[in-house]
């Protein structure tokens, strides 16, 4: 399973939307109903647990789209 597919699953199960609606260019604003501030904090927790990373508070505000998260993971050595 590619990193993108893993990320799709994490986002889908955390903010409760179908995985197929998440594309390589999706962002928080595309799902304003479900990906709200509560969902975002849940997502940060889920990302940490799924990919074994440690996020700082400053990172929360940056990781608001699939491309930004994928880039962050790549920078941590996860492709």
């Amino acid at each position: 399973m590619s990193t993108f597919e893993q990320l799709q699953n994490v986002i889908a199960s955390t903010i409760k939307i179908p995985p197929a609606t998440i594309t390589e260019t999706s962002s928080k604003d595309d799902f304003s109903g479900s990906w709200d501030s509560l969902g975002h904090v849940n997502l940060m927790m889920a990302l940490e647990q799924t990919f074994g990373i440690y996020l700082d508070v400053e990172d929360f505000a940056k990781l608001v789209s699939v491309p930004s998260i994928l880039q962050y993971l790549k920078d941590q050595g996860i492709e």
Binding site: T14, L38, M45, Y54, D56, V57
Partner: protein, 619 residues
């Protein structure tokens, strides 16, 4: 902290929720949220769920607990509906038409920070002198009790009160423990007094000490500073899970049939080895490994007795072999007198469980079955799905605490009756033997009943019995005419209400005192008519005409008070068949709409002499 990736397939292959819970507890894994979601889906497929309504009052972010609350609920077979009050403690939520009250919660969880109790707690406690500290503590406790009391006045279900532990170690550092201004001591005293005040004056209210969670998982694993400072949510995943498990566990205690008996296997459960094959000296039971783990398990089981649970024995053995261990093994802690009942034979265990249920007069849904054998556990799960089955871990070192996380073994209150349960059952065993000896083929009869010298004490509107009466409404399934369940708050309202009569009785005989075992609640209408809302009796005292003596004594009381007519009804359930004909047999007349009535003007209740029970009414 890195979470290892592993397959959760084994969880998804479990075929019962108790199996799933046991596997999760045994594996001790740290699940990710997505994994938890998958397990939730699987757990939901394992059978029907029971609704559980939770209300949350909070001064810090609480909705981030939801995924874990939902997870724990799915594991227990509860369909959770949560209401989070709008941010902050608003007394509006403690009013009659609040969102909280409208949600009709079974449990209301109050999440408070310690600093909320008093503005002066924003500054170091240690700047105050000991007497100033005492004053501050008294004020803080008064604030807290006042807050909780306001919620208690409304129908908000069982209240669960928590105080968030401190993010940091005490301000004085290592010296705090020895300082006369110690922070830790101050909070310990506060918790102690809060708990005492709640026990004394607030019904259906439980203080759940989150410091115990802190002890269990460690401060480093409890607080998430990033989520705290960014979103005011204090918990790391492990803390959120532990808190959710405890809160939802209380939901299981409230919503499911009350557990009453722990039925234990013997070989490889209470000791290592098989007595019939290894002999007394071949058993692992004593100061060395692995025997010491089994000894600790037996010790831990004594604690469950203290919680008011009965222990029973169900073992495939020759009785002679098993008795040798109970009577002669020097390290055996559980002896014959600790077991309320036993089946030691070669019959299938499901049949033995049914026989135990008959003997103890308890439903199988109050049984918790504990056995090391996969085969026996599967057989019981299959034949008796209402029995909760716990398979003991295969590793001896994990056995001693294997029952500590069983939700239905938690208790919300303890009464005097709970502490003497086993004695009561031992007395009952003696009564049965006596009955056999009074020459009636074990069928009782007047000879036997008269020789018991029974004395019934009836109390009316007795607030001191609140906890026990609430417990009785929740635990009594068989001799119960209407099966209405009331928490302590609701019973308190009945007692306080001048237009209600709450009567209870205890029964003593030559063998001992059974404690409070019966309850009747009448509501009196302005036209001198009374309705019998509740009439129930513990099956422990069935067969002695106590229920009849009680009913007629109360009818006499009502007649003395000028009541002209009493209406009653029987609401059938799957369990109360034995009470079906009670009203008719006592002299009530069936009326058109399906209830029963007793006209006290032209039909007198029986007097005391009609029953082999001396009745005393304590007003």
């Amino acid at each position: 902290m890195v979470h290892s990736k592993f397959a959760i397939n084994k969880f998804l292959q479990t075929s019962s929720r108790s199996e799933l819970r046991a596997l999760l507890a045994a594996t001790g894994v740290k699940l990710t949220l997505p994994q938890a979601q998958e397990i939730i889906a699987h757990a939901e497929s394992l059978g029907a769920t029971t609704a559980f309504r939770l209300g949350v009052i909070h001064t810090y972010t609480s909705d981030l607990l939801d995924p874990w609350l939902n997870f724990e609920a799915a594991l227990q077979g509860l369909a959770l509906q949560i209401y989070h009050a709008p941010y902050g403690i608003t007394f509006q939520e403690a009013s009659k038409n609040s969102g909280l009250v409208q949600h009709q919660p079974d449990v209301t969880l109050i999440l408070l920070r310690r600093e909320d109790l008093h503005p002066d707690l924003a500054y170091p406690l240690t700047r105050l002198s000991p007497s100033q500290q005492d004053e501050l503590r008294n004020e803080s406790i008064a604030e807290l009790i006042s807050l909780v009391s306001q919620f208690r006045e409304q129908a908000v279900g069982q209240i669960v009160l928590t105080l968030l532990p401190f993010l940091n170690a005490p301000g004085l550092g290592l010296f705090d423990a020895q300082s006369e201004r110690s922070e830790a001591v101050w909070w310990a005293k506060l918790k102690m007094e809060v708990a005492a005040r709640i026990s004394a004056s607030l019904s259906a209210c439980l203080f759940v000490d989150l410091d115990e969670v802190l002890l269990q998982i460690g401060r480093n694993n409890f607080f998430d500073h990033r989520f705290w400072y960014s979103s005011r949510f204090p918990f790391k995943t492990e803390a959120a899970q532990e808190i959710a498990r405890r809160v939802v566990g209380l939901g299981a205690v409230i919503k499911f049939p009350k557990a009453k008996v722990i039925v234990l296997d013997a070989d490889n459960t209470l000791w290592g080895g098989v007595i019939g094959e290894d002999g007394l000296s071949g058993l692992a039971l004593g100061p060395d490994y692995p025997g010491n783990a089994f000894v600790d398990f037996q010790r831990r089981l004594l604690n469950f007795q203290q919680r008011g649970f009965l222990l029973a024995l169900c073992s495939k053995n020759n009785p002679v072999d098993l008795d040798q261990v109970l009577q002669e093994h020097p390290h055996q802690i559980l002896r014959d007198q600790h077991f309320a009942a036993r089946r030691v034979n070669w019959e299938p265990k499901p049949d033995n469980l049914k026989a135990l249920a008959d003997e103890l007069n308890l439903g199988l849904d109050s049984f918790i079955f504990v056995d090391d054998s996969s085969h026996e556990c599967a057989a019981v799960r299959y034949a008796l799905p209402q029995v909760e089955v716990i398979q003991t871990p295969s590793k001896a070192v994990e056995i001693p605490f294997c029952l500590d996380r069983v939700a239905r073994l938690e208790v919300l209150s303890l009464t005097a009756e709970d502490l003497t349960k086993t004695e009561m059952y031992a007395q009952e065993r003696m009564r049965r033997e006596f009955m056999g000896n009074t020459g009636n083929n074990g069928l009782g009869g007047e000879n036997y009943l008269q020789s018991l010298n029974m004395k019934m004490t009836i109390n009316l509107d007795c607030i001191a019995h609140l906890s026990r009466l609430s417990q009785l409404t929740q635990k009594t399934n068989q001799f119960n005419l209407t099966t209405r369940r009331y928490n302590e708050h609701q019973i308190g309202e009945f007692i306080a209400n001048k237009n209600c009569l709450v009567a209870d009785f205890s029964l003593a005989d030559v063998f001992g005192d059974s404690g409070i075992v019966g309850l009747a609640i009448f509501t009196i209408r302005s036209d001198n008519h009374a309705d019998l809302d509740t009439f129930l009796m513990s099956c422990r005292v069935i067969g002695r005409e106590a229920e009849s003596a009680f009913l007629h004594a109360l009818l006499r009381v009502l007649a003395d008070r000028g009541i002209q007519e009493v209406y009653a009804e029987f609401l059938p359930t799957t369990k109360n068949g034995l009470a079906k004909d009670f009203l008719a047999n006592q002299g009530f007349l069936a009326v058109a709409e399906g209830g029963y009535s007793w006209n006290l003007r032209n039909q007198a209740p029986k007097n005391q002499a009609a029953f082999p029970v001396t009745v005393m009414i304590d007003i």
